[in-house]
Every structure is written in C-alpha cells, then in structure tokens.
C-alpha cells in the first residue's frame, strides 16, 4: 500500500503541530499559492464538474508554474483543463504526474480534449474511482479514519487497478469494499462567502468541499465576497467549513468563472466553448489557439481581476441574470 499526499498518521501529526488559532488569514492569491502549493503536491480540487471550481487559484498556479502534481477530485472540468492546457503548452513549467479521479469532462459542453490528449499519449498516471468513492475517500480523511467501507462499484473493473480492497464483512459475511482515505497536501476551494478567519458559508450544493478542506494539510479558500464575522456567526449551522480547516482566505469575485457559482452567476457558455475549442484544436495538432488563449488571459495578466477585466460586462451581467438560485439566503454585510 502507498499513500499519495499524507498518510493518515502523517495527517494526524500534521494537525497536532499546526497553529489552529482563529486569526486573520487574508493574503493575496499570489502569496497563498507561493506559500501552500509545492511541486509534487497532491492537490485536492473543490467544486463539481464546472460548478464552483477553483478557477482563480488554478490560473495563479499556472502563472507561477508547478510540476509533478497529483490531482485528486470526484468530477472536474475547467480547473483541471486549465492545468492540462498549461502542461500541454510547456511541460517544463507546469505538469500533472498523476490523477485520482472519477470523471473529467464538461457534461453538456462536451468531453475533455486535454484529458484525452494526456491519457492517450501516456503522459499521466491514472487511478479511476467513482464519484462516491472519491467523496467517501475525502470523508474518511476528514473523519480521521484510514479507510471507509462502501458498496459501489463492487464488480467493476475499477477495483482491478485502484487501491480499494474487497473483504468479507465481519458482521454480515458479504463482500464489502474498503477505500483508503485521501489526505491531499493542499485543497483548492472556491465559496460564495467567507470571513477573515476562514469560516465559509457555501450556498447550494456543498459538493465535497467541506470534506476536502478538512482532510487536507492546507486549504486555500477564494470567495466571491468577504463578509463581517458577526454575520457569519449569526447562523453557525450554515458555516460549512470551519475556520481552523482553512489557511488562506482571498476575496476573488467571479473566482469560479467561467463556471457556475450557485446564487452568484450561471455558466458563461460562450467562454467555456471558446476555451474548450482551443483545447480541442490542440488535441488535433494545432496549438495556436491554445497558445493565444493562455497569452491573453493567463500569462498576459498579473491576476484574476485582469482576466475578468477582459470579459465583456454584458456577458457578466447575462450570467448573473441567468442564475436561477436565490442570491442571498442569509443577511450579511459585505466586509469594507
């Protein structure tokens, strides 16, 4: 058996030695990535497919360049596509070594061109799991348990090449599957609201973000808005990630754009298709569109605000208008 990221015992020891105090964790995204994302890390990716993915954090990682990453997630789209695009363009600056995943594509927007490119050219090591498996692995990590039992997908070929074990249940005598916990070195999470200490209030589906944050050694949180701490603690059971599971808090409006952020904005379908087309052209042998995309939107800007600055305001209004979920479900004051 091998562990990627931290083993359960290392993860426990890591927290024992960690400063868990309630302190102001605001910093720039540049600082947060410099401090908490290292070459060779196992990176836990928050969100689900193209919902509330940590796009701003990934852009910053790509700008700084990180190599030999292991990416752990249930279902992802844009966040991993952006990392893959950077690797496709220059492997000496950015690279993914290994994937622990259930699904990488964009649902209605199509399959992932760069997952096909990387896998079919043998450029990455893959460990397939199901969505429940990856979610339960993070959950085991968040519970301080080395494994968690699970019934699915018993009988699937996934079990032949991943680290799951099938045992006879000691109580029923029937086969049951055991999944090893996942403890990434760093979790990347985008939420709607956070306070300066790192308390997070996720609206809409929580996906697996609370579990990933609690299982990981470090957690970087970006939020659409920082709010007053008093407003956060007025609804304590709406706090979905507690402050001591967070290490850096960065206010980044539209931080999961062009994906969907519940209650804030819907997908920018035009921009997703535009980026995906550039990836597909790369897969088919023409790198120009992808090179141009990265030069214009990622390497040509110094931070995420300058990326958003290039998106037509009318398009941003449109995705806000088109978002069907309640905009606010608990009153708060935006932190001045």
């Amino acid at each position: 058996m091998f562990w990627t990221g931290l083993s359960p015992d290392e993860a426990r020891q890591f927290l024992a030695n960690k400063d868990k105090s309630k302190r102001d964790k605001r910093m720039t995204l540049k600082e947060a990535v410099q401090k908490f994302v290292k070459d060779g890390d196992n990176v836990g990716i928050g969100g689900f497919v193209n919902g509330r993915q940590p796009i701003a954090i990934v852009h910053e990682i790509v700008r700084q360049g990180r190599k030999d990453l292991t990416l752990s997630f249930q279902s992802a789209g844009l966040a991993v596509e952006y990392l893959a695009g950077a690797m496709a363009l220059d492997e000496s600056k950015n690279s993914i070594r290994r994937l622990e995943l259930a699904y990488w594509a964009h649902e209605a927007f199509g399959i992932s061109p760069l997952f096909r490119y990387l896998a079919e050219n043998g450029k990455i090591e893959i460990e397939d799991w199901s969505n429940y498996n990856m979610s339960a692995r993070f959950k085991a990590g968040s519970m301080g348990l080395p494994f968690i039992p699970c019934r699915s997908p018993l009988g699937s070929d996934m079990l032949k090449k991943n680290r799951a074990k099938v045992i006879e249940c000691p109580f029923t005598g029937r086969p049951i599957m055991l999944l090893p916990a996942s403890h990434p070195n760093v979790a990347l999470i985008h939420v709607q609201e956070a306070d300066i200490y790192g308390n997070c209030r996720i609206q809409g589906p929580t996906y697996t973000c609370p579990e990933i944050a609690k299982a990981s050694a470090y957690t970087i949180v970006t939020c659409d808005r920082l709010i007053e701490h008093d407003d956060m603690t007025r609804h304590p059971n709406r706090v979905t990630i507690p402050f001591f599971a967070v290490d850096a808090v960065v206010e980044v409006p539209f931080g999961s754009y062009p994906g969907n952020c519940n209650g804030v904005h819907y997908f920018d379908e035009k921009h997703i298709a535009f980026f995906r087309d550039a990836c597909e052209k790369f897969r088919k042998g023409d790198p120009a569109a992808l090179t141009n995309y990265y030069e214009k939107y990622i390497f040509g800007v110094s931070d995420f605000t300058e990326f958003i600055d290039q998106i037509p305001l009318a398009d941003l209004y449109y995705i806000q208008k088109n978002e069907p979920s309640t905009t606010l479900d608990a009153a708060f004051t935006v932190l001045g």
Partner: protein, 268 residues
C-alpha cells in the same frame, strides 16, 4: 384520438421512450444528458410526482428554470427539498432511497454492464488507452446501489459488444445466478435498455438482453443487425407507440428549446 408526430429525431424518440418507462411517484436518480430531458418530460406528462435526485446533492427540485447543463448546476437546486453534497446523495442511494437510476454509457454488453472509462487493452493498456472516455462519474454508484437502473444507449453494433474492454458500471456481471448479490451489491440491476432502435430488457434466467419492443421504423431484424451480439427474441415483441405531437412539442419548445442535449448528432 392521439395525434402522432410525423417528424422526430432518434434522440427525441429515446427521450419519449425513457419518459414513458418512468412510473409516477418514484425517486429517480438522474444522470447527465438525455435522462434529465426524459425525467422532465415524464413530469410534464404522466409523472408529476417523480422525485429527481442529483448526485451533487439536490433532492426533489422543480426543474422549471431551464434544463440543467450539469447534474451539479444551479438549475438542479431550484426549490430543492433537501440539498447537501455528493456524500449525502450517494449515502441516501446506498441506504435504498432511490428506486431508479437513469444512466447512459458508451458501450454495453449482453448482461447490461457498461463502459464509460476507456477503449483499448485492459489491464495492460490502462495507462495508455486507445480512446480515453470521461470515466465513471456517479454512474457506477447508481448502477450498483439504485434499486433498478434504466440505461439509455445509442444503438449501433460497435456499442453493443459481447465483451467490453472495461466494465465501469456493473449490470448482471457474468450473468451467473445471483452474481450481483455474490459481489456484495445491494440494488437489483438493470431493468430496461432504451435505445435509438428498441426497448430491451433482460431474461429472468440467463440475465442476457432480450428485445421487448421495436421503435417506429425498426424491425426485429434491423434491431438484431445493429446489435453486436445475439439478442433473445421472445414471441411477444411489439411495436412501440410513436411520439405524440404533444410530447415532441414539449421537448422542443418547453424542455430543451436551445437543443443542448437534443441537437447533438448521433453518428450512424
């Protein structure tokens, strides 16, 4: 008298067949794409009491704010009865709250096992597949732990194979007696396979795929010709009722007017 539509696409036929297969008042765990369209159509016709469950965490939403583009997007959460995350949705399923799992796959075998992971040589070529597909997502969890599953497939010989290169989502496994139970699974397995050409089920004894009905324009022979393995053909195969004018109108004008899932070309 019911008016039948004279002009409809293979996707529309699949969606209509899928919708009619769903009973009212059942809890239906919805996969991405055509299953979402079929559930919405069923809700608007005979099944207003259908309770959709989405894997990103939403239980029992109202799908009246546009067709979701993802099983985790905001449109799956509108007026949700319960909304948590992936662990919650799959734990509820493992516990037995979901009657039907509604999924699709790239390839299927005679026992209803599905592949959505890779084409090529497994296990030796796993790290460098001929074609890499998106992966299981939640489909294998649904196939294992929903009480029954309904599978949607494009019907062509290369997708209906005697042997798959990779089993992502278990059906009846090798078809041996009680194979699912012996593997440790909770749900009963595939109930129907709905394709662009036919409605199929599984033989009670052998668990191999059998023809139940042919869709409009198809014959027993044309369905068998499009299947890469031998189907069981019972005596009581019937012709499926064509889509009605109203069903097609609902799909085109109400459910998917922009054609996200309905306008994609099916390669024949």
């Amino acid at each position: 008298m019911t008016k039948y539509a004279s002009d409809f696409t293979p996707q529309e036929m699949i969606v209509v067949a899928g919708s009619r297969t769903l009973e009212d008042n059942k809890v239906v765990f919805a996969g991405t794409g055509l299953p979402m369209v079929a559930i919405t159509l069923a809700q608007l016709t005979h099944g207003p009491g259908i309770v959709p469950v989405f894997e990103a965490g939403s239980v029992g939403p109202t799908l009246s704010r546009g067709l979701p583009l993802s099983v985790g997007d905001s449109r799956t959460t509108y007026r949700s009865n319960y909304l948590q995350g992936l662990n919650s949705a799959f734990e509820l399923t493992q516990r037995g709250f979901c009657d039907i799992g509604f999924i699709g796959g790239a390839e299927i075998d005679p026992y209803g096992n599905l592949n959505s992971t890779m084409m090529g040589d497994f296990p030796d070529g796993y790290q460098k597949p001929k074609v890499r597909l998106p992966g299981s997502g939640g489909a294998s969890d649904m196939a294992c732990s929903c009480e029954r599953t309904i599978i949607i497939m494009v019907h062509e010989p290369r997708r209906f194979r005697e042997k798959l290169s990779y089993i992502t989502s278990p059906g009846y496994l090798d078809g041996s007696p009680n194979a699912r139970w012996k593997a440790g699974l909770a749900g009963q397995g595939p109930y129907r396979v709905i394709t662009t050409k036919a409605i199929l089920g599984f033989d009670d004894e052998t668990k191999r795929m059998k023809l139940i009905a042919t869709l409009p324009g198809e014959t027993v022979q044309s369905v068998q010709d499009a299947t890469g393995f031998e189907l069981i053909i019972p005596d009581d195969v019937y012709e499926f009722e064509p889509p009605t004018v109203e069903e097609i109108r609902l799909i085109r004008e109400v459910i998917d007017p922009k054609g996200y899932f309905m306008k994609k070309k099916i390669k024949e």
